[in-house]
C-alpha cells in the first residue's frame, strides 16, 4: 500500500521535472531557431555593390574600381565576380596593367573545372550564394571575350585568340524556345529529364568566332576563313562585318553599348530567376571618318537575347526543387514538434526540430542567386576601319544622341598590327559628359607629347608625361629651373606627398591602395597615361581639372617661380 502523501510528493516532483523539461525544450527551441535564422540569413547572396555600379554607369570608372578593388583581393565566393568587375572597369578606364591582372585571374577561375565541387551540398541546403559565382554560361562567354579584348588593345592577338577560343564551348539545348519555367515543369514530371533530354549543340556565340578569326589572322594561326564563316552561319547580318574584316583594316573598334539585363528572383520562395532587359534603346552603330559616313553595322552580340535563351542559362531546376522540398519539410516538421511538445516527449520534439531545421534549411536554399555581372552591356559592336592616315572618328548608336563619341587624331595601325580601341558607351539612363565629344585635349602626356616650353602639371602647367631627359629639356625651354637633372625631376614627384610614377605603383606594401591608381588630375597620387583613345584617357585629358596643390616647400617655390615667369610680359 502506498503512502498518499508520498504519492502526492512524487507527483509534485514529476510535475517539477516535467516543467523543467518543458523549460529546457523551450530554451532549446529558441536557441535552434535563433541559431538557424542567424545562419541562414548570413549566407544569402552578397548585396550588390551599388556604389561601384553607380560610378561605372556615370563614366567614373576609377571610382568604380576603387569600390571593388579591396573586395577583389578577398578570396571568397564573390572573388571571380569582383575581379570581373575590376578588370572590365579597368579596361574601360584604359589601365591595361590592372585589367590584365584582374581578368587573368578571371580566366584561370573560369577555366577551372569543378570550381564548386565541394559546395554543391551547401548550395542545396543553405543558399545558392555559397557557391563561388561563376556566372551563367552567357556571362562566362562574355568574360572570355573581355579577356580577349584586353589582349587585343595591347596588340597581343595570340592571347586574344586563345581567350576567344575558350568562349566557344558547347551548349545544352532542350529544343524549342523554352523558358526556365517550362524546363522546371518538365523536370518535375520526369526526374531524368534534365539528364537525358538535352542535346549538346555548337555555340551560337558569333562574337567569339569573330574575335577568334581576327586573332587567328593576326597571330598566324589557322582557321580564319572557317571561323568567319561560322559567325555568318549563326547570324547572316554579319556578312557586312566579315566582308570588312576580309578586305583588311588598320583600326579596330570594339564598342560596348548600354546596360545589360538585370537578374530578378520571382515565384514561390523567390526560387525562380530570370533576366530582364534594362536598356530601352537598340540600333546599329554609325561611324564617320573626318565628317564622312564610313560604316553602319549591327551589333555582333545582343546580351539581352542571350540572357533569355535557355541554352545560355542553368540551375533553374534545382532551385524550384529545393523550394518544393523545403515547403513540405517545414510543414511536416511543425506538426511533429507540436505533437511531441504536447506529449512532453523529448525524443519526438528533437526529431521534429531536426526536421524543421532541415526543412527551413532547404527553404532558405530555395532562394535564387541574384548575383550577376552588372557591368555587362546590352550590345557589342566590332568595327574594322581602313583609315590609312590620322583621322577624326565620330561614332554613335543610331537613335541615341547621348551616345555620340568623338575621337580626334586617331593614328591607325597597320594591316598586320591594327590599332585596337575599346570603348564603353552608356545608354540613355547615363549622363553624356561634354568630354565624350570634345576634340581638343587640355593636357599633354606620354602619347600626345608636349611641345617645347610646356610645363609640368605639378608646377602649374598642363603636361602629365612621365619624367625623362627629353621631357626635362622641353620644360626647361619654358623656364623650368635649368639646374634640374632628370633625377631631380623624378625626386620632385617622389618627395611631394609620395606621388607615384605609374598606375598602381605603390611600393610601400602589398595592400592595394586606391590613391596609387588614381591620377593626380583627379586628386590621386599617380601619374600615368591611360590607354590612348580609351574612355579613361578621354575623361582625364579632355576636360579641365583643378590645378595641382603642391605639398612640399620645394615644389611650392618652383611653382611660384614658374608663375612669375608666365606672368611676365
Amino acid at each position: 500500500m502506498t503512502d498518499p502523501s508520498a504519492n502526492a510528493s512524487n507527483l509534485r516532483h514529476a510535475g517539477k521535472v516535467r516543467a523543467a523539461h518543458c523549460c529546457t525544450l523551450s530554451r532549446c527551441l529558441a536557441v535552434w531557431l535563433f541559431g538557424f535564422l542567424g545562419f541562414s540569413c548570413g549566407c544569402e547572396s552578397a548585396p550588390r555593390n551599388y556604389s561601384a555600379i553607380r560610378a561605372y554607369y556615370n563614366y567614373d570608372f576609377t571610382t568604380a574600381r576603387e569600390a571593388v578593388r579591396d573586395d577583389a583581393y578577398i578570396q571568397n565566393e564573390q572573388v571571380l565576380l569582383n575581379n570581373a568587375r575590376l578588370g572590365v572597369a579597368a579596361l574601360a578606364d584604359g589601365d591595361n596593367t590592372e585589367a590584365e591582372q584582374a581578368l587573368g585571374r578571371v580566366f584561370n577561375w573560369l577555366s577551372t573545372a569543378g570550381l564548386n565541387e565541394d559546395r554543391t551540398t551547401a548550395a542545396v541546403w543553405v543558399h545558392e550564394g555559397v557557391r563561388i559565382w561563376k556566372g551563367e554560361p552567357f556571362e562566362q562567354a562574355l568574360l572570355y571575350h573581355y579577356v580577349a579584348t584586353q589582349y587585343a588593345v595591347q596588340d597581343d592577338w595570340e592571347n586574344a585568340r586563345a581567350a576567344a577560343s575558350n568562349a566557344l564551348f558547347r551548349l545544352t539545348d532542350f529544343g524549342g524556345d523554352k523558358s526556365s519555367e517550362d524546363l522546371t515543369r518538365s523536370a518535375a514530371e520526369d526526374d531524368n529529364f534534365l539528364d537525358i533530354e538535352y542535346t549538346a549543340v555548337d555555340t551560337n556565340f558569333a562574337l567569339g568566332f569573330v574575335m577568334q578569326a581576327i586573332g587567328s589572322k593576326l597571330s598566324g594561326a589557322s582557321g580564319f576563313d572557317a571561323q568567319l564563316n561560322a559567325a555568318v552561319a549563326i547570324n547572316e547580318d554579319l556578312n557586312a562585318l566579315t566582308d570588312r574584316i576580309r578586305s583588311g583594316f588598320d583600326t579596330l573598334l570594339i564598342v560596348d553599348y548600354g546596360k545589360g539585363p538585370t537578374k530578378i528572383a520571382y515565384g514561390p520562395d523567390d526560387a525562380l530567376l530570370r533576366f530582364d532587359p534594362q536598356e530601352r534603346h537598340r540600333g546599329p552603330i554609325t561611324v564617320n571618318i573626318n565628317g564622312s559616313h564610313a560604316a553602319k553595322l549591327n551589333p555582333v552580340c545582343d546580351i539581352d537575347r542571350m540572357a533569355v535563351d535557355h541554352r545560355w542559362n542553368n540551375l533553374e531546376d534545382i532551385r524550384i526543387a529545393k523550394s518544393v522540398i523545403g515547403d513540405v519539410l517545414v510543414v511536416s516538421g511543425f506538426a511533429v514538434a507540436a505533437h511531441g511538445g504536447n506529449r512532453d516527449s523529448l525524443e519526438t520534439v528533437l526529431a521534429g526540430l531536426g526536421m524543421m531545421a532541415a526543412g527551413a534549411l532547404t527553404k532558405s536554399g530555395a532562394k535564387g542567386d541574384t548575383r550577376y555581372f552588372e557591368f555587362a552591356p546590352q550590345s557589342i559592336y566590332i568595327v574594322p576601319l581602313a583609315l590609312g592616315d590620322v583621322s577624326d572618328l565620330e561614332l554613335a548608336i543610331q537613335g541615341d544622341v547621348g551616345s555620340r563619341v568623338v575621337l580626334d587624331n586617331v593614328r591607325p595601325g597597320t594591316a598586320e598590327n591594327p590599332r585596337t580601341i575599346y570603348l564603353r558607351i552608356h545608354g540613355a539612363d547615363s549622363p553624356d559628359p561634354q568630354w565624350l565629344t570634345a576634340i581638343t585635349p587640355y593636357y599633354t602626356n606620354d602619347f600626345n607629347a608636349p611641345s617645347a616650353g610646356a610645363l609640368p602639371y605639378i608646377g602649374g602647367g598642363r603636361d602629365v608625361s612621365m619624367p625623362s631627359r627629353t621631357l626635362l629639356q622641353t620644360y626647361q625651354a619654358g623656364g623650368f629651373p635649368t639646374e634640374f637633372t632628370p633625377g631631380d625631376l623624378i625626386d620632385l614627384y617622389r618627395v611631394d606627398e609620395e606621388l607615384f610614377l605609374g598606375s598602381g605603383m605603390d611600393p610601400a606594401n602589398d595592400i592595394p591602395r586606391n590613391s596609387s591608381y588614381r591620377h593626380i588630375l583627379e586628386t590621386g597620387r599617380a601619374i600615368f597615361t591611360p590607354q590612348p583613345y580609351s574612355m579613361g584617357y578621354k575623361r582625364l585629358m579632355y576636360q579641365p581639372h583643378d590645378p595641382y596643390e603642391p605639398r612640399s616647400e620645394r615644389l611650392r617655390n618652383i611653382a611660384a617661380r614658374l608663375r612669375v615667369r608666365q606672368d611676365e610680359p
Binding site: A113, A351, G354
Partner: protein
C-alpha cells in the same frame, strides 16, 4: 532518448556545421589543365639536353665561324593565356641552361640579346637603356624559337589539353631548320566546366 531520435536531431546540426565549413568561406582553388612551372623546368631541361646532344652542334668545332644566336619568344597557338613575359621565359630559360654549360665555347656559339628586347632587359638589370650590351650590333646568324600548339577538348564535365611544344633553331641565311625537337604533355581536369 532513442538512438534514432538522436540521429534525427543531429542531422541538421551536422548539416549546419558542414555548410558552415564548406559553404560560406574558403578560397576557390584553381585547377586547370594549363602548363605549369614544373612543365617549364622539365621542358627546357630536356630541350637543353637534346640541343647539346644533337649532331649539328657536336660536329661544330671551336675554330668554325661562330653562330650568333638570337632568341625569339614562344609563339602561342594554344588555348591557354601565356603572358608576354612568360613567352620569353621559356626560351630564356633554355638559353640560360645552354649558356651555363660549356657548349657555347666548345662549338663556337655566341648568344646575343635580341635588339628589340634590350630595353626590357636593361630595365630588369637596372642598366642604362641607352647603353649597349656586348653583341647588340652583331648580326644574328640564327634564331632560337618555339611554337606551342594544343588540342583542347571540353565538355560539360571534363577538359583536356594535349600540348605540343616545338623548339627550333633557324638558320637566318637559308631559312632552314638546323635543329628541332618537341616536348609533349597531355593534361586533363574533371568536374563541371561551366557550373
Amino acid at each position: 532518448m532513442s538512438i534514432r531520435a538522436a540521429h534525427l536531431a543531429a542531422l541538421p546540426i551536422a548539416l549546419l556545421f558542414a555548410c558552415a565549413l564548406t559553404g560560406c568561406s574558403g578560397a576557390p582553388k584553381i585547377r586547370t589543365p594549363f602548363l605549369q612551372s614544373v612543365d617549364l623546368v622539365d621542358m627546357t631541361n630536356r630541350m637543353a639536353e637534346s640541343f647539346t646532344a644533337s649532331d649539328v652542334i657536336n660536329t661544330r668545332r671551336l675554330d668554325d665561324n661562330p653562330w650568333v644566336i638570337s632568341i625569339y619568344r614562344v609563339v602561342n597557338h594554344t588555348n591557354q593565356i601565356i603572358p608576354e613575359r612568360e613567352k620569353w621565359l621559356y626560351i630564356g630559360r633554355l638559353r640560360g641552361m645552354l649558356a651555363r654549360s660549356n657548349v657555347a665555347e666548345k662549338h663556337a656559339l655566341v648568344w646575343i640579346v635580341p635588339p628589340e628586347r634590350w630595353p626590357d632587359v636593361a630595365k630588369a638589370l637596372n642598366a642604362d637603356p641607352a647603353g649597349e650590351p656586348f653583341g647588340l650590333r652583331m648580326q644574328p646568324t640564327h634564331v632560337l624559337t618555339a611554337q606551342f600548339n594544343a588540342l583542347t577538348i571540353t565538355n560539360a564535365l571534363n577538359r583536356s589539353d594535349a600540348y605540343l611544344c616545338a623548339f627550333e633553331l633557324l638558320d637566318l641565311e637559308t631559312g632552314s631548320i638546323v635543329w628541332q625537337d618537341a616536348w609533349e604533355v597531355k593534361r586533363a581536369v574533371s568536374g563541371l566546366t561551366y557550373d
